[in-house]
Point group: C2
Chain length 146, copies 2
DNA sequence: GCTTGATCTAAAGTAAGCTTGAGGTTGCAT
DNA sequence: ATGCAACCTCAAGCTTACTTTAGATCAAGC
């Protein structure tokens, strides 16, 4: 199984917790690539486990696959990404996490004000201020990331 | 406009930043209620601005409308919610925010380890540990909230 | 060699969360 | 009283992110 470090899709699925169908979908979307055996079966690099993990973390942050694709585009083409590559791209993810945490903390503060004062004075309640609200990112739950 | 504090849907939309169609959809889903004028137009309570704000905050947290409905069910039926009601339900939201922040901080730590060590040793990389990963919550981006 | 589980493709289906469109009515200002 | 923006309903459409299904092939152990 270690010859050339090529793993079949099922193994990749097990390692990442993703469904096989999801991985195939990601490949179709261009988020991940594979080579084929003579019998047309996909074989992935072990490094793709990391790539999928990155996708999962980014998704958890609220990023859509299109945005994730943009992030991943920073990785080198044709060459297996090395430590430096991953460090660079991971830092960008780190920033997004920081921003998201900061935003949640702001929301929490506002919520505390509302809980504390029990304000029913609608004009004063900070939660009514929609400046910090989720931007319209299309359908589905909305997230503020910046 | 202050007679009885009843506002039309367009005003509610402006105040919350939501689309009129979204508010109608929420009503259909049972997340918000309205009375009708003699001409069949919806009229909402001013307090519904708060209710919608709650929905927006909860959505931003990653909750689905079904879960939000469950949360809102804690509000009194037939009576306009008062400060105490809102305080109770908001605290539950606050807890969810705390948990989400904690989870993001854990992810950030793991990411820092990966950035710091530049580990390409896949078996050691903490990000590959899927224990803390998003649970399958159906289609769409996944979130860990608990 | 044979079986059995993993894999393949393509197309259709699903779920959430809304939006859009058509065709018609209401209500406030002038 | 008239005009026009705002409102109404209902059905269909859209986007994201996948899953499911069907029918066929592959690969690895016994």
């Amino acid at each position: 199984m270690d010859r050339n470090d090529l793993i079949p899709i099922g193994t990749l699925a097990q390692r990442t917790g993703l469904a096989v169908s999801a991985i195939r979908y990601y490949e179709q979307r261009g988020l991940i690539a594979s080579v084929r055996t003579s019998g047309n079966q996909r074989r992935f690099l072990r490094a793709d486990i990391r790539r999928l993990s990155f996708i999962l973390v980014a998704q958890n942050l609220g990023l859509g696959l299109t945005e994730i694709e943009r992030e991943l585009a920073a990785l080198p083409h044709g060459r297996t990404p090395n430590a430096r590559d991953w460090a660079r791209i991971s830092r960008s993810l780190r920033d997004a996490i920081d921003q998201r945490i900061a935003q949640l903390e702001r929301t929490r503060e506002k919520l505390d004000l509302c809980i504390g004062c029990g304000c029913l004075s609608l004009t004063r309640c900070k939660l009514y201020n929609r400046d910090d609200r989720a931007a319209a990112l299309g359908p589905g739950p909305r997230f503020v990331l910046g």
